[in-house]
Structure formats: structure tokens, C-alpha cells
Symmetry: C2
Subunit: 158 residues, 2 copies
């Protein structure tokens, strides 16, 4: 028995489903939806936060509105030993780097980056990536059009 096994009942799942869809839903509305007292629902939400089931409440902003129109995936190879993931941690520190995954296969990392344009991506690679140890190669794939981009999980009914 470790901290990993978290029991979520039907009510918890409903809360998560509703909150995933709208993080600013009021506790009162949640309670109405679930036909429970607001205080009971609040208790549950707080527990979900404590248990780190709920990681964060975030606002999705239209990247275009901020002029961030370039999205790219970069597959990287690293000469780093298998034990450490310092390269990944360094990459993760860069704000424009949205995702860093250690992957199976020929490449070591899959990195997702969002910048204003190709010039700023070039900047990033020249000024930031170049300073990170052990990166031996990068293969950049530019996104032409994004059809779907979300991180909504599929929440089971029970």
C-alpha cells in the first residue's frame, strides 16, 4: 500500500468531470448538479486537491491572441547515462518548452515548444538548448495546423 492507490468513487469522478470541463464552476453549482449540500462538495474538492488528484486549475489562453503562432516538436538524442535525467530537467526549466518526455526508441526525448515565430525558435535553440549538456542531435518538426490540443482525460463513469 503506497500513496499511489487513490480511491475515487462515483461522486469524485463526477466532480472531476465537471471541473475538468469548467474549472470556474462555482461550488454551489457543483452541489446543485450533484444534488448534495455545498459543504459536502467543498469537502470533497479540498480532499481531491490534497490528494493531488487535482493538480492545478488553469486558464487556456488562445496562443494566437498573444502572437505565439509557432509550435514545434523536437526529437532529441542525448549522450547522457540512463540513470540521470538532467538534460530533461534543464529543458523543463525553459518557459517556451511546454513538454518534455523521455521516450522509447531511437531518440531520447520528445520536446514540445511554443514560440512567436521561427526566428524565436531559432533563438531558443541557439541560446538555450545549446547550453544544455549532452544533447547530441535534434530533429525539429514544425506544426502547420493544430486540429485538436487539450489534455482532458477520459473520466470513467464508475
Amino acid at each position: 500500500m503506497n500513496g499511489t492507490d487513490i480511491v475515487l468513487d462515483k461522486t469524485d469522478l463526477s466532480i472531476l468531470r465537471l471541473m475538468q470541463e469548467n474549472a470556474r464552476m462555482t461550488n454551489a453549482d457543483l452541489a446543485r448538479e450533484l444534488e448534495m449540500a455545498p459543504s459536502a462538495v467543498l469537502e470533497r474538492v479540498k480532499k481531491l486537491e490534497q490528494k493531488q488528484v487535482i493538480v492545478k486549475y488553469t486558464t487556456r489562453i488562445n496562443p494566437v491572441a498573444l502572437g505565439q503562432t509557432l509550435l514545434a516538436f523536437i526529437a532529441m538524442k542525448s549522450s547522457e547515462g540512463m540513470g540521470s535525467n538532467n538534460t530533461a530537467k534543464e529543458l523543463a526549466k525553459i518557459p517556451e518548452v511546454q513538454e518534455v518526455h523521455h521516450i522509447a526508441g531511437e531518440d531520447c526525448y520528445m520536446v514540445k515548444v511554443r514560440t512567436a515565430d521561427s526566428a524565436s525558435l531559432m533563438d531558443l535553440m541557439r541560446n538555450k538548448f545549446s547550453k544544455i549538456q549532452n544533447i547530441t542531435s535534434t530533429r525539429t518538426t514544425i506544426v502547420l495546423e493544430t486540429v485538436k490540443e487539450e489534455q482532458q482525460l477520459v473520466i470513467p463513469v464508475k
Copy 2:
């Protein structure tokens, strides 16, 4: 002049920065932080929603808590003509598919998928992907470890 050019001033950017970090921040707290009247801040937030600068308020849920431990990137080739993106749209309909990007380069699409395990990924490919027209090949990359995964944008100060 089209609907694309949205003017965001310093206050808007501050709101976005705060809300991106915590979507459930109260309007009252926002107002305190910005040293403005709550009513004025509320007005701005509503406008950001209307202008679709704010796309959604969402709750990030720990995938492990829901037993969704498998993440994969799938590079796909499609025989579809360049004009349409029906393949992408069909992929986007699948809940387990979190991202669909049309990419430059040899492959056509980059697809990000999250499922419970490799068996359910196999299921998905056999039962859903196989029904989508024009997919001529897939190359699946399994994620071993995720070091960073977010979609926070870099919001300029001014």
C-alpha cells in the same frame, strides 16, 4: 483589419498571467492584485472570454489517479488530398486523442494519445483508427517518463 488583431494592454496581460496560474482565483483577489475595483476587473475578464482570448477554464487532473498511465505519440501518414483535413477531424473526435497536429515533413500528422495501458492503446488503434479513411501508416512512440507537461504560455510583461 480582421478579428485576429486583438489588443491586450498591460492589465489584460496581468489578468491572463494570474488566471493562467490559477483559474479559480477569485475576482476579488484579482482586483486586489491589480489594485482595481472588482467590477472593472470582472468587465475585463468577461471581455477576454468574449474575444476568445480566454478559451477555457480547466482542471488538470493527475492521470495516474485515474489509471491512465500510457502516453504515446503517433506519427501518421495519410493518402488524403492536401485540401481536406477529414482524417484529422476524425482523429480529433476520439476522446483518448488529446492532440492532432498537421505537421511539415514526411509524416502528415502528429497525434498524442493517452490511455490506461498498452492494451487499451492497441484496442484504440484496432477499433478506432482502423475505421478512419486514408491512414496509410502509423509510427508509435511510447513515452517512458514525462518530465514536464503543460500548456502555459509565456505572457509578455507589456
